[in-house]
Symmetry: C2
Subunit: 192 residues, 2 copies
DNA sequence: GAGATTTTGTAACTCTAGTTCAAGAAATTG
DNA sequence: CAATTTCTTGAACTAGAGTTACAAAATCTC
């Protein structure tokens, strides 16, 4: 009951995600959001309460969409090494193709907020946990098939790969040139 | 000629560094700076012109001081592997002991500004270049002594280690627990 | 010590961030 | 269609960010 919204909240969240992703939380102003979402200030606050809550929704949306490629790649058919290699390369290629140099919104959120905001902390840890678990699953499969050494600690290796993809993202932001990133996937996988 | 300053600019820059390091650029207000540096607003702006220029000086100061440990560790006596291991562990331990979870100011600067500010970009690249070069030097020494395989590409390996330390810093910010970080140095070095 | 110069402390200024509010418009219910 | 509810538009508000201005104070030169 009551008037129906003139806009699609999901679309609005997606556009908000773009803004926060590009400019960070502190770097995004209500005015930018109003312009980007194409709705009035009143509607913005009526629908989302505050910039902060909108940010949280945008970050969740990011987790649900942008991040899914990594999981798909890790779950794809193929040997363990192939899948890990494809996953790392996915991150490398994303960094290389990121003309705006926005990096990964999770990495950005972690750095901008970590330790200072429980809400963001929770989301960041959740996604890190999931990524780590996905890596670990592949590694254990590789150990089971004999493709990876039995002496390899799957938990350690998964944490290492999690660190690696975050490192790639930071380097990609700092210097978008392909020089450093090019062989990162191969080099990292020598550790396994 | 003229009145002499009541404060030591170097000390002021150091305190500013602490603020920016802890709160980021956008998260640090003139008032916080005034309080932390213990000087008046007038002196602040008279001495440093703007928040932005002070930030740049603070970041340079960081590069000159906090980062030097990494170079010292890499230049210390010992085998290549020992030195690389010690360097990675230095970063790991720094993350574990970082109760405030400020992370590394360079990593933070890269994520907050990269691609959006030429001044910060330049400083970040400079330090990344230096760190990479330092890693590379050790790796080449290791190759020369036969400790590391001749087939190892020193440039690729150095870029990989640069990514790794940045990854460690991001993980450390997100989750200060020792679980993930503990064996990262050993695991990463298996790649060499 | 006069004069020049620089620093200091504080007030003040402008601008915008982030949010709220009020009045009217659209939908829903019965 | 009346009653109710929710949404929209845009102005308006508060607080503080980032900076400047100015008079007073300190130092330096000669």
């Amino acid at each position: 009951m009551g008037r129906t919204k003139n806009f699609d909240p999901d679309v609005a969240v997606e556009r908000a995600m773009d803004q926060f992703w590009t400019n960070g939380y502190a770097g995004t102003t209500p005015q930018q959001l109003v312009d980007a979402l194409g709705i009035g200030r009143g509607s913005l606050y009526n629908a989302f309460e505050s910039k902060y809550k909108l940010y949280l929704r945008a970050l969740e949306h990011y987790l649900d969409t942008e991040n899914s490629q990594l999981f798909e790649t890790l779950d794809a058919p193929g040997s363990a090494r192939e899948r890990l290699h494809a996953a790392l390369n996915l991150v490398v290629e994303a960094a290389l193709n990121d003309k705006q140099r926005r990096g990964c919104m999770v990495t950005n959120a972690a750095v901008e907020f970590a330790g200072r905001d429980p809400g963001v902390d929770k989301l960041v840890r959740r996604i890190f946990d999931r990524q780590e678990a996905a890596f670990r699953g592949v590694i254990e499969a590789g150990k089971g098939s004999g493709e990876l050494g039995r002496d390899l600690d799957a938990a350690d290796a998964a944490a290492f790969l999690l660190a690696t993809i975050n490192g790639i993202r930071v380097l990609g932001k700092a210097d978008p040139g392909p020089r450093r990133l090019r062989h990162l996937a191969e080099t990292a996988l020598r550790a396994l």
